[in-house]
């Protein structure tokens, strides 16, 4: 599918840390650029992930799934970055 990917950011974890996802929106919801769409719970710290673009949220990774930095966990369809 086309759109802007939402990936687990690179700069906040050690190499071997797991993290999981809590989605604040549902698959198919319209979201604005900059809106916080999910929280990554890394054992002890909550990281907020804002949407990189405006569009429709397509969730690729369900909640309570371990993910690694760089994993694309969602795509914002029809994304426009301005």
């Amino acid at each position: 599918m086309s759109g802007t990917p939402l990936a687990v950011p690179h700069d906040q974890w050690q190499d071997d840390e797991e993290c999981v996802v809590m989605w604040l929106y549902e698959d198919g919801d319209a979201v604005a650029e900059g809106t916080v769409v999910c929280e990554l719970a890394v054992a002890k710290v909550d990281i907020e992930l804002p949407s990189p673009a405006a569009g429709v949220l397509r969730i690729l990774v369900p909640e309570e799934t371990p993910v690694r930095k760089g994993d694309v966990i969602a795509v914002i369809e029809d994304g426009r970055t301005s």
Binding site: E18, C19, V20, A41, A43, K44, V45, E63, E64, T65, P66
Partner: protein, 333 residues
């Protein structure tokens, strides 16, 4: 008042047991809590406050205590309970919420009661101090030379209960010793941000009792100062305050990200871990040989493993047992 070789070995053994216990407990606590850290999940739900690093406070004081001496402790109680001689199997069963637990699963890790060794703890900061004063008074009224000890954190020294309990203990000349485990943090707030004086032992003077500070998280130094204070109390000379510089090697609770601690602080404290330091002392002094030490550690590991195995195998309470012991039965004849 220096510890004998036997007492040194007891202190070392008890610190090893306590640390092994907390490390094992952390593993059990985290079962079911990965990948999502949901506090309600797993064999031990709720909060968990570990005492890793604070063992010297427990052993240095409890080395002088008998079963009939009363101890009140806090939300971070395990090292003290172990040093006081609380039944390890029943304590572990309680922490795992089993019927065979100290309170049949009603209290959990913050509310451990073992009347056989007069140990209790609870979760509201500073509120164990008044009960320790009463326990001390009761013993004196019955003509016993038993004492009470109240363990608190340095954060509790800013609670009203602290000031009232110290004053009352002095006014009543109660045989109680107040022990502050100063680990420098009240959850995320450092002592320097919360306390008007740099060291709490000076507050004892405001309440007409001696106050001492023990530095370096050293169980032998704690032993020496605590011995004097407890002897004072037994002899009828009244209460004392002891402040012990100690360190908290883990978070306030399991799951605490500890973002409020400066980079490298915990690593530096681990390098000064009191348990390997006492080990080196005992080996150097010939109190223990390397073989004996190894055997001791293996024994303690086994004791801890057995306690957890016992607890895991123990039955959960029947839900209807929740209604029992709200009130005590009967009247005093």
């Amino acid at each position: 008042m220096t510890p004998s070789a036997r007492e040194l070995v007891w202190m070392y053994r008890t610190m090893v047991r306590s640390r092994c216990y907390e490390e094992t407990l952390a593993g059990v606590y985290l079962e079911g809590k990965r990948p999502v850290f949901n506090m309600a999940a797993g064999p031990i739900p709720g909060e968990m406050h570990l005492s890793n690093g604070q063992e010297p406070c427990a052993v240095g004081v409890c080395a002088h205590l008998r079963a009939d001496d009363a101890v009140t402790a806090t939300h971070r109680p395990h090292h003290i309970a172990i040093a006081k001689g609380v039944d390890l199997n029943a304590m572990t069963a309680e922490i795992l919420g089993r019927r065979a637990g100290l309170s049949g699963g009603r209290g959990g890790h913050m509310h451990l009661f073992d009347h056989r060794v007069n140990f209790s703890c609870s979760g509201i900061i500073g509120q164990g101090m008044g009960p320790a004063v009463g326990a001390a008074l009761a013993r004196r009224m019955r003509g016993e030379d038993a004492v009470a000890v109240s363990f608190i954190g340095e954060g509790a020294a800013n609670q009203g209960a602290f000031h009232e309990a110290l004053n009352l203990a002095a006014v009543w000349r109660a045989p109680v010793v107040f022990v502050i485990e100063d680990n420098a943090y009240g959850i995320s707030v450092p002592k320097t941000d919360a306390t008007a004086v740099p060291e709490n032992h000076v507050r004892a003077a405001g309440y007409g009792m001696p106050g001492h500070r023990v530095t370096g998280n050293d169980p032998v130094a704690v032993y020496e100062i605590a011995g004097e204070a407890i002897a004072r109390a037994r002899a009828g000379a009244g209460p004392s305050l002891i402040e012990i510089e100690t360190w908290r090697l883990e978070g306030h609770f399991i799951g605490d990200a500890e973002g409020y601690r400066p980079e490298g602080e915990v690593a530096a404290l681990r390098a000064r871990d009191p348990i390997p330091r006492l080990r080196e002392t005992l080996l150097a002094k010939g109190v223990l040989t390397a073989d004996e030490e190894e055997k001791l550690v293996a024994e303690e590991r086994r004791t801890v493993e057995e306690a957890f195995a016992y607890a895991r195998a123990a039955a959960l309470p029947d839900p209807e047992e929740a209604f029992e012991h709200v009130f005590a039965e009967g009247v005093r004849a």
